[in-house]
């Protein structure tokens, strides 16, 4: 069958079931109730502190076929997933589903557990490095489910991703299960992605290397949700958890794109008091913030809030008064941690608050502008951020599709050529974010406006921006680089790409070896 953007889906996907075809960004009308979490009680004298992961496995008990969930706030410094799975392997447990909000190169050990049958299913929003490559090469018999950050929260809360045990890597905990992300050697800032897991999992285990005196303050995840606290020697490597400082790009082409994106925002009439903004931590995205800031300074504009993954650059804008608030689901650097710890205008929010489509209002809905990247974008403005030029998985939506759907204006910034490869193609290999939620593409050689936005087109033309048809930009790139031959894939589905509402926007098929 084909979904509404023409992507070919199998009628039944082995190991996944019947896909609900994507039918439009705002078409899904949920007719269900939320998953009711298990009701629990403990005796007033009961202790939650457990000496080892092994003891937790035995007390719960964790058995074959369960779903274990993890958050990715420790990014490439995470030590918890590997320690938990090593424990599972040592106890001879098989057929686990790992629901890890993002997979990083540090999780390479997963591959061995997949091969030995300890882990047989993976549910994630983003994956890079060796695991992504192994999945692309077919290491798992069942396809990986790739969700958006908002979609994962939705799936957990609506009972589509039931979690047996949530292992929450906690930078700081007290012995009664209060947790925060801002103290201890593995401080990571916001714990936003772990909130749905803590609320809805049958069992919640905090894993920490820093136990503070009761009661912990501040509290991000409260004691009433946490069953066990395990102290390990090391929960994570701070060098992999936070980057030192995030810097704007020095690449002249990147700067040109960023400057043009800032002009697009201004031409769209959005740069005024109360402006709200999301951008990534990448060099070009951050450069857009830099140019926006210059204009805000010149025009004495005070924005409302900046959202998303928070970097030191955004913290500086908060502290200098360019934005009144930061809404933070994930912090990227030491400055973001310092700020969320000390500044009441720097808010920690859950993945649900940030981006779930199935609640009565998530934060992305309040965005004026989001600036996003793309691996590929096609002439219908559909964006791929899942697979690379070799067809191998190298990312995932994360918040991409969520923010694109919510923002008034969604801007994709990209070099016209990445290496030799044109960024604009006839049809993206893997659709991640639907074109109906993308408004403008900004490249170094011109700006293309989605034909569904005639008013925006008029505004950009009136501002004298170099507006071109997306087809013309594509032809321009092909004239320089030549027309690339299309990648061929096999029929075997290695990943199912769910849109934020749970419908299937595309599948990733295994590439020929």
């Amino acid at each position: 069958m084909k979904n509404s953007i023409g992507r070919d889906l199998p009628e039944v996907i082995e190991g996944y079931g019947q896909p609900i075809p994507y039918s439009g960004a705002f078409e899904a009308r949920p007719a269900m109730r939320r998953q009711a979490p298990k009701v629990k009680t403990i005796h007033p004298r009961d202790q939650k502190l457990v000496d080892t992961l092994e003891a937790v496995f035995q007390q719960i008990p964790i058995t074959d076929g369960m779903t274990l969930s993890f958050h990715h706030h420790f990014r490439n410094g995470d030590g918890v997933v590997n320690q938990v799975l090593a424990t599972a392997a040592a106890l001879g447990i098989k057929n686990l589903k790992v629901a890890l909000s993002s997979v990083f190169p540090v999780h390479e050990t997963l591959i061995a557990y997949m091969k030995s049958g300890v882990v047989t299913a993976l549910d994630t929003n983003y994956m890079s490095g060796p695991v992504a490559k192994a999945v692309s090469e077919g290491v798992l018999a069942t396809p990986v489910v790739l969700r958006t950050h908002g979609g994962r929260a939705r799936a957990i809360e609506c009972g589509q991703l039931p979690i047996d045990v949530a292992f929450i890597a906690a930078p700081a905990a007290d012995e009664y299960g209060n947790l925060n992300g801002v103290q201890g050697p593995a401080a990571c800032g916001s714990l936003g992605y772990a909130f749905p897991d803590a609320e809805y999992a049958d069992h919640v285990v905090a894993v920490t290397d820093y136990i503070a005196e009761y009661p912990l303050a501040p509290i991000s995840i409260p004691q009433c949700l946490v069953d066990y606290v395990v102290k390990v020697d090391c929960a994570g490597d701070p060098r992999g958890i936070v980057s030192g400082t995030t810097k704007i790009t020095k690449d002249p082409v990147g700067l040109k794109i960023a400057a043009m994106a800032a002009k697009v925002i201004e031409a769209a009439g959005l740069l005024k008091n109360g402006f709200s903004f999301q951008t990534g931590a990448g060099g070009v995205s951050l450069a857009v913030a830099h140019f926006i800031r210059q204009r805000m300074e010149q025009e004495h504009i005070v924005g409302s809030f900046a959202l998303g993954g928070i970097t030191g650059y955004m913290v500086d804008m908060l502290e200098k008064g360019f934005f009144k608030k930061l809404i933070d689901v994930q912090g990227f650097d030491l400055e973001a941690i310092r700020s969320i710890k000390t500044n009441p205008n720097h808010l920690e929010v859950s993945a649900n608050f940030y981006a779930s489509p199935f609640n009565v209002g998530c934060a992305v809905n309040r965005l004026d502008v989001v600036v996003l990247g793309a691996t590929e974008i096609d002439v219908d403005f559909h964006v791929n951020v899942v697979t690379g030029s070799d067809g191998v998985i190298m990312g995932g939506s994360g918040g991409h599709a969520d923010a694109a759907a919510g923002a008034k204006v969604t801007i994709v910034v990209a070099n016209l050529l990445r290496g030799r490869l044109p960024i604009i193609v006839e049809q993206v290999l893997t659709a991640t974010t639907p074109g109906e939620t993308i408004d403008v593409l900004v490249t170094e050689r011109g700006v293309a406006v989605n034909p569904q936005r005639p008013e925006l087109l008029r505004q950009l033309l009136a501002a004298g921006l170099p507006v071109k048809e997306i087809q013309d930009l594509k032809a321009m790139a092909e004239k320089i680089a030549g027309v690339p031959r299309k990648l061929t894939t096999s029929d075997r589905v290695v990943a199912v790409v769910e849109y934020r509402d749970g419908s299937v926007i595309d599948v990733v098929r295994q590439v020929h070896q």
Binding site: S389, D390, G391, G419, R420, L421, I480, A481, G482, P484, R485, L487
Partner: protein, 99 residues
């Protein structure tokens, strides 16, 4: 064509992104043209790169050489320039013929 005795191994280019490193080794009389290609965009542009290399070799009327192409996403004009320079350094073509 230069004298066969002056022919040696010639190399041009780098392994930077958007560049290509080409090594030309003169072979025995009658060994023909061999091209060994590795490229980060082999799926998309492998055939195009092969054709460009063959075109240049044909235009320069080269014979009996082994060409190693390590491509990092170079454009056609870069591949041509690097190959011509490698051929020049190998003594396979003469400077005046290139410019």
């Amino acid at each position: 064509m230069s004298e066969a005795g002056k022919r040696t191994v010639g190399q041009a280019g780098t392994l930077e992104s958007n560049d290509v490193m080409i090594t030309v080794s003169p072979g025995e009389e009658g060994s023909g043209i061999s091209i060994e290609l590795t490229s980060i965009v082999k799926e998309q542009y492998g055939d195009a790169i092969q054709k460009t290399v063959q075109d240049v070799v044909g235009e320069e009327k080269c014979r009996d050489i082994y060409i190693t192409v390590v491509d990092r996403g170079a454009l056609d004009c870069t591949i041509r320039a690097r190959l011509l320079t490698a051929l020049l350094r190998a003594g396979v073509v003469q400077k005046k013929e290139v410019i």
